[in-house]
Symmetry: C7
Subunit: 96 residues, 7 copies
Amino acid sequence: MNLKPLGDRVIVRPKEGEETLPSGIVLPDTAKEKPQEGEVLAAGRGEWHDDELVPLEVEPGDIVIFSKYGGTEITVEGEDVLILSARDLLAVVDKK
Amino acid sequence: MNLKPLGDRVIVRPKEGEETLPSGIVLPDTAKEKPQEGEVLAAGRGEWHDDELVPLEVEPGDIVIFSKYGGTEITVEGEDVLILSARDLLAVVDKK
Amino acid sequence: MNLKPLGDRVIVRPKEGEETLPSGIVLPDTAKEKPQEGEVLAAGRGEWHDDELVPLEVEPGDIVIFSKYGGTEITVEGEDVLILSARDLLAVVDKK
Amino acid sequence: MNLKPLGDRVIVRPKEGEETLPSGIVLPDTAKEKPQEGEVLAAGRGEWHDDELVPLEVEPGDIVIFSKYGGTEITVEGEDVLILSARDLLAVVDKK
Amino acid sequence: MNLKPLGDRVIVRPKEGEETLPSGIVLPDTAKEKPQEGEVLAAGRGEWHDDELVPLEVEPGDIVIFSKYGGTEITVEGEDVLILSARDLLAVVDKK
Amino acid sequence: MNLKPLGDRVIVRPKEGEETLPSGIVLPDTAKEKPQEGEVLAAGRGEWHDDELVPLEVEPGDIVIFSKYGGTEITVEGEDVLILSARDLLAVVDKK
Amino acid sequence: MNLKPLGDRVIVRPKEGEETLPSGIVLPDTAKEKPQEGEVLAAGRGEWHDDELVPLEVEPGDIVIFSKYGGTEITVEGEDVLILSARDLLAVVDKK
């Protein structure tokens, strides 16, 4: 992917709709905050805490659960992706 | 559980409804902030105070009282769980 | 009590209604912010100021005046108690 | 007085109504922010600026002008008093 | 004046109405933020930036332009004055 | 000019209406945030970042583009000028 | 360009409408936050994190995706450009 997120942002390829995902996680369509599962395609350089730049907890290839609220939808090379702040990422699927 | 919460988030398996719980705690259905009891299944790496990352006060296995407001419901391996910020945890049941 | 408040929270056993309390303090039912008197049953580890964790000013056994707004009601071992932030405590009755 | 205010709070005995006070100050009943004159009965340990606890600028016996907004009314030993944040104190009458 | 402002507050004696002032400044009655000219009668000890107390930029005798919004009107020794935060002061007339 | 702005404020002499300015910049009358061009007549001592006072990026004589929102209009020595915060300045025309 | 953005602001020449851009990115007209692609023409000196001034992540010539919300439109030398905060930049197209 030739797009680099800025700041604490990540680019995520979402998996849409309610279904049992390979990870065994079901995300209800009706949830207030619309949780979603997706794959991190690219990650920004980090988030600032005071004057410290702290690298993000996720990296490309991670499968994440995120809150859809606040993300921005764009289409890159034919794929629908989301740019969102790392603050909107809720959890990451452990790599075995 | 193969889900790791990010930042100051925790994953909690809630106990629903008004009943006297084994811990002797009753949580009214009618309460404004909807307190709930549940078990911590996983905990994020901590919360930031200025540029210090401080580990959370709870760990997997803890029984906690939390405010339902703000949590995100998902289903993992057939179980309904909540992802919520550690700021929404009110108290923890002491381990004897 | 087998419940430990988290962060800057305290658990308080409130005294309800308008009456002259043993401490000589009257709390009007009609007050905008609903002040109340109660006894601290348990106190969290403290509050953060920048990256310093500062112990709370109150401890179990203290009689406090607090603002009811924002507290969460639960029932523990048959007793109605409130979990509230130390920021909602207004004053403490001096121990003689 | 056997009540100790917590944090940056003070307990003040207000003087009610529009009148020329001994200090020569008139406080209009119609003012938007309802300024009032009163005597400080007790003062909390201070206010936090970052991780520094700074003692309050007032002490018991001081006559202060304060903004009524935000204070909590209680009755202590037969006297109507207010608990309010030191931020709501506007000015203090100089001691000669 | 026997009133000492607290914190970053100042006491100002305002000049009311639209007129060409001796300083050559006209303040329109219709302005959204209602700028006013007045004389500083007393100044608080300063304003906090983090844990540093910084003295105010104005002192008694200064002629200032201020935003009327947020000030509190009181009458001291027969004079109508305003107590306002130094943040509401916009400019000071240079002393020649 | 005998007015000194306080804090991070600047005094600007605006150029009104939509026209092609000598700098070649056109500012539409219809823009949501109403950008304007003007000349800085005076600048405050700086803006605070934590406990550091940082001098402003502009000085008297600079031609600036600013957001009209939030400024206060006054008339000084027959000229209509604006007092606004340096945060409302968007750009400065390079001096050749 | 003879305009220098102030603070954390950048000047961007936007590409309007929904189309497949040379970079292969499609930005839907209907998106809630109206993402757009454009070229950075000039960049401010940086953004403050506490008392540290941190240079921006982008420089003139960069192709960026940005959120249109909050930008200010002006016309410079016949070109429609936007002045916006670096916080509104979402991602940058990698230079090969």
